[in-house]
Assembly symmetry: C2
Homo-oligomer: 193 residues x 2
DNA sequence: GCCCAACTAGACCGACCGGTCTACATAATT
DNA sequence: AATTATGTAGACCGGTCGGTCTAGTTGGGC
């Protein structure tokens, strides 16, 4: 299976978003990474960089949903799934010398309300992620599943951010340990109906 | 008291970092906002944009430390202080039509290990913030104060991020409510020595 | 009044940005 | 074999980027 040029472009964009964000990467850099000429970019994505970014965001969203699906399927306790998720993010961060964070976070902060296409793609990706978490938490009887879902996503984003600037996994590890502890305890004390 | 050109430049940079991040703002935009010519920028900050960004980051760090100091001084329970802190961030976000987030977050994600000056400034700002929180939590007998501090910072960063892309305060509000609930409960059940 | 440092002012520069356009290769269609 | 859609290739363009440099202004020390 040979990757199509389109796929290579999207993957290169995802990688770029993880490392530097949308404004941080130039087209030439992107094209070099994807080993594609400019003509191909504008053939597959007539609206240029923005359209490519939207496609990248959508792909990330799809991958996340899929990853959650299999993760929750295999873990009986959603907190175990969450732990694995956070740990794998941490692993990727460490393996890349603290360069690769969340592919959505940087664009999210770089974009404004006027970048409506990008914002729309981001918004629906985040909604999907939160909903997936919420459903699983709810199903297993955790109270305040919506708040917990938003909290875990915040922990992921905020924790990765702190780990990156610190150049260390410690802040994230500690925050994760603390939240898991709090949550398990909470669950234990207010069992499902 | 008239603001000096240097101060106006720093404040303009802080505002820019909150809205769009470092790569997202051009010098011309910055200079227009500060109502200063290019010559002044390079007089006060010979290393240009980067040096100005570092100064902005440092000022944000100082302001944060100061804000925490007075906040914790006035609130007997650190959780109340934390609540006020999170709510004021939310207020600023709403008042700016979801444009103004954390001034450190975007640069944090845009920068890489090679931007060592910026990273150093960011790292020390985050350490200072976490330490301030940790001290207060510890002093009031909360268990795992270090993890809790990192967790609250993550909630702040990750929550603001989610609120921005959602164009709504709901995700952050819910996450805050949930974490406060969990933390209070935890504290109650394991009182200080 | 003179001088010198601090600062303001903006013209100017090369590099690079994202984007367009034409020419060409390739492959499916008939 | 001729034609047509699909995609590759990169020269080229105007605009903007961050940064440099020279000239002028301002105000305090003497």
């Amino acid at each position: 299976m040979t990757k199509t040029t389109r796929d290579k472009l999207i993957d290169a964009m995802i990688d770029a978003l993880q490392r530097r964000g949308l404004h941080g990467v130039g087209l030439s850099e992107l094209l070099a990474a994807a080993d594609a000429p400019k003509g191909s970019l504008y053939h597959h994505f007539p609206n240029g960089k923005t359209e490519l970014a939207v496609a990248a965001i959508e792909r990330v969203g799809q991958r996340a949903e899929q990853a959650f699906a299999t993760l929750f399927e295999r873990q009986s306790d959603p907190l175990d799934a969450l732990t694995i998720w956070l740990q794998s993010a941490l692993g990727q961060l460490q393996d890349s010398a603290f360069e690769r964070g969340c592919p959505l976070a940087t664009v999210a902060l770089e974009s404004g309300p006027q970048d409506h296409e990008i914002r729309a793609a981001l918004a629906s990706a985040f909604v999907a992620i939160r909903q997936a978490l919420q459903q699983q938490l709810q199903r297993h009887g955790y109270p305040q599943p919506e708040g917990l879902a938003a909290l875990f996503v915040a922990l992921y984003e905020g924790g990765l951010l702190q780990a990156r600037v610190a150049g260390s996994s410690e802040p994230l590890k500690q925050a994760v340990a603390t939240l898991l502890h709090l949550t398990r305890q909470h669950r234990t004390e207010s069992p499902p109906a």
